[in-house]
Amino acid sequence: MTDMLAERSRRYWFVQGMKGLFSLPGFILMSAFVGFTALAFQSGLTRAEATFLTFFVWALPSQMIVVGAISSGMGVVAAFLAVSLASIRMTPMVAALVPEIREKKTSSALLIFLSHFVAITAWVYTLKKVQDIPRDGRIAFFAGLGMTLTLANTAIVFGLYGVVSELPPIAAGTLYFLTPMYFVMSIWESARQPVVYWALALGMIVAPASHYLAPQIDMLLTGLVAGTFAYVIDRSRRRRAP
């Protein structure tokens, strides 16, 4: 009986996660993928390649690097390193998400499988909603959200390939700008701890300095320096508070 109830609860939360496709972040992400479809088409990828790339990489910054690497004739090892440097953020992102959504009995295999669907949009959205979801529904919620976002955007790339071949420059520029604006506002809005405000603000400030000092590893440097600094500020603030 309890098992049946738990099963119904999981199905319910999976569907709640799927509904995230029709949220503001869902629409913004889909718009960004319309822009990506045009980029892939212009860069000479075939429909099958662009679709494969979207589903099996599922991270816009990585996908853009791969498209650039293919069209510029970069070697596969260099491209792997470039993608890796841009993807290191995935490690702390997934590490911060896992303790929030897993149950004691959740297997590593399931977490490894689901981790493929972690990207900024689903990460922000899940961390924002997770407090209102019972523990046994959280994995299901993330699975429903992450898999739906991935499949829907893969379908967009497949379906719009060649249809949206060239956007007017102003449309392409504003579409591109939509993503960073949405990310910064949704992280700010969904912050549950003050440390997030500090990390966001310091990250913005440190980013140009890292880019100037070490352009190859600027993201990593920004994350470690600004993130650690934000943590130290936050901890001393918490200790001082009664």
Binding site: V83, V94, A95, V98, M181, V195
Partner: protein
């Protein structure tokens, strides 16, 4: 070995999928060691947020494509205007995004882009 030599699909899988998923898998193993109330999790969350902030900043400061040749003041101005409206209107994302994109679009129009 370029994409022409090893095939585009193999190239995408090795550079793209492995280059991204390896870091996700590492996150799973790291995350399993972290308890929900630990200080370490606060630090990890802080680093993750700062890394994403770095991605956001570089998209605004060092964009690709159409925006690459546009004045940095226009991009920063549009972002700041949008974020200010977002804060002033009690975290209204739709209004904030609309203002940022409108400022940018008007700027691009007057630049003749």
């Amino acid at each position: 070995m370029t994409a022409q030599e090893i095939g585009v699909f193999a190239f995408i899988f090795i550079a793209g999928t492995l280059g991204t998923d390896i870091w996700r898998w590492l996150g799973v193993f790291g995350g399993k060691q972290l308890s929900e109330e630990s200080e370490a999790l606060v630090w990890v969350r802080s680093v993750a947020t700062a890394l994403v902030a770095g991605v956001i900043a570089s998209q605004v400061l060092y964009p690709g494509g159409v925006l690459a040749g546009t004045p940095i003041t226009l991009r920063i101005g549009a972002a700041v205007a949008g974020f200010a409206v977002f804060l002033l209107l009690k975290k209204n994302m739709v209004a904030g995004i609309a203002v940022a994109l409108t400022v940018l679009a008007v700027g691009l129009h007057f630049l003749g882009i």
